[in-house]
């Protein structure tokens, strides 16, 4: 394609091709601190759904190594969102080296907290806020669980903040770098946050998972232990490639669900959540 950009996020190399210059320039600016990708694992292509739509009401259709049928094109102003969605899709459907969990993670002293939950549970916000309190941010979309070692690998892509989280994180991280505010997307308002320099510099350092959290935002503060069986079932639902990995996935996930302490955390706001998480961590 006419405009191209390549970079590596954790162990995954991407090449983004675009029919327009602007999306590639936006990506290059936001991913400026990331290493390049000599041999990308995945390609994402941003192009018009028809030749006319390159100029007339320009819209971005996603293409790449893996695609989903019937994906509606996004307006060109939301090309950054399309690129991020495309990158996530390639990893979700194509990555086989690790067991993928739809989760966020932070690390301290070589040990990590993995947070998983439905969209809106607040795992992106929580991981970002913890990142501002001395934890190393490892990612907010995918946690990559290594079948050989049981360690997790970071995937610190841009943090996709939605709706109310945008202002909350901007207030907590006044010096952080943000992408443009994308209003009226299919997911509401979205603004991308660039992970801090430490998260990017250390993204090749794996960590041993020490705590698995199931956070839930908007509830009165509560903490309850989660049994291994329940955690296992919820984790199979949070994994995009559990079935594809076969017995390797089974061994990896049962070990994780059995050996790591598991806690469901309800929290009313970010400050309360951080206090709960720090208390759980201190009690390990």
């Amino acid at each position: 394609m006419k405009h191209q950009f390549a970079m590596r996020v954790g162990p995954v190399g991407f090449r983004i091709g675009s029919a327009w210059r602007a999306p590639v320039e936006q990506l290059a600016a936001l991913y400026a601190g990331y290493p390049g990708a000599d041999v990308p694992d995945f390609t994402v292509r941003l192009g018009p759904p028809s030749p006319l739509r390159r100029w007339l009401r320009p819209a971005v259709a996603l293409a790449g190594d893996f695609t989903l049928p019937d994906t509606a094109p996004l307006p060109l102003a939301h090309a950054l969102l399309a690129a991020e969605m495309g990158m996530n899709l390639q990893v979700a459907l194509g990555h086989r080296r690790h067991l993928l969990l739809h989760a966020a993670a932070v690390e301290r002293g070589g040990r990590a907290i993995v947070m998983t939950g439905e969209s809106g549970a607040g795992k992106s916000t929580l991981a970002t806020l913890l990142g501002a309190r001395g934890w190393r941010f490892m990612g907010d979309e995918f946690v990559l669980l290594d079948p050989a070692t049981g360690m997790i690998h970071a995937f610190p892509r841009l943090v996709s903040l939605k709706n109310r989280a945008i202002a909350a994180v901007a207030a907590a991280l006044p010096d952080a770098r943000f992408g443009p505010l994308l209003t009226g997307t299919p997911k509401g308002d979205i603004r991308h946050l660039v992970p801090d320099a430490r998260a990017v510099a250390a993204m090749d350092d794996p960590a041993m998972p020490a705590l698995l959290l199931f956070p839930r935002f908007g509830e009165a503060a509560a903490v309850r232990a989660v049994a291994a069986g329940e955690a296992f079932v919820r984790l199979t639902q949070a994994s995009t490639n559990y079935v594809a990995l076969g017995e390797r996935g089974f061994d990896t996930l049962t070990r994780f669900a059995r050996d790591v302490p598991k806690v469901a955390v309800d929290y009313p706001d970010g400050e309360a959540a951080i206090a709960q998480v720090e208390a759980l961590w201190a009690a390990l």
């Binding site: 291994a228 017995e247 089974f250």
Partner: protein, 93 residues
């Protein structure tokens, strides 16, 4: 199922099982499907890991090995049927 002639077995090489607190996860190698099961399914699989046996013999083994005071043949047959349907237990007429 318990017609007396049918023999049941669950060769251990056909699956992997991991205890997860009160549940167990079972990976069936032939299908690649994971089953999450509760007691007495793991005990049935364990009891059938050796030579094939009838449902009546299985009930006896379960009663002795797991100290089941009020073993219910109908309930056991239902669990056995589920394991056969999942492919984890092989039924030989």
């Amino acid at each position: 199922m318990s017609d007396g002639a049918t023999r049941f077995s669950a060769p251990p090489e056909g699956y992997r099982i991991v205890a997860l607190d009160e549940l167990s996860a079972v990976y069936h190698r032939a299908s690649g499907i994971t089953h999450v099961v509760a007691s007495p399914a793991p005990e049935i699989l364990d009891a059938l890991s050796g030579p094939a046996m009838s449902a009546e013999a299985l009930l006896m083994v379960m009663t002795i090995r797991y100290d089941l005071a009020d073993a219910d043949p109908a309930a056991l047959a239902a669990r056995l049927d589920e394991l056969v349907a999942a492919g984890l237990v092989v039924a030989t007429p």
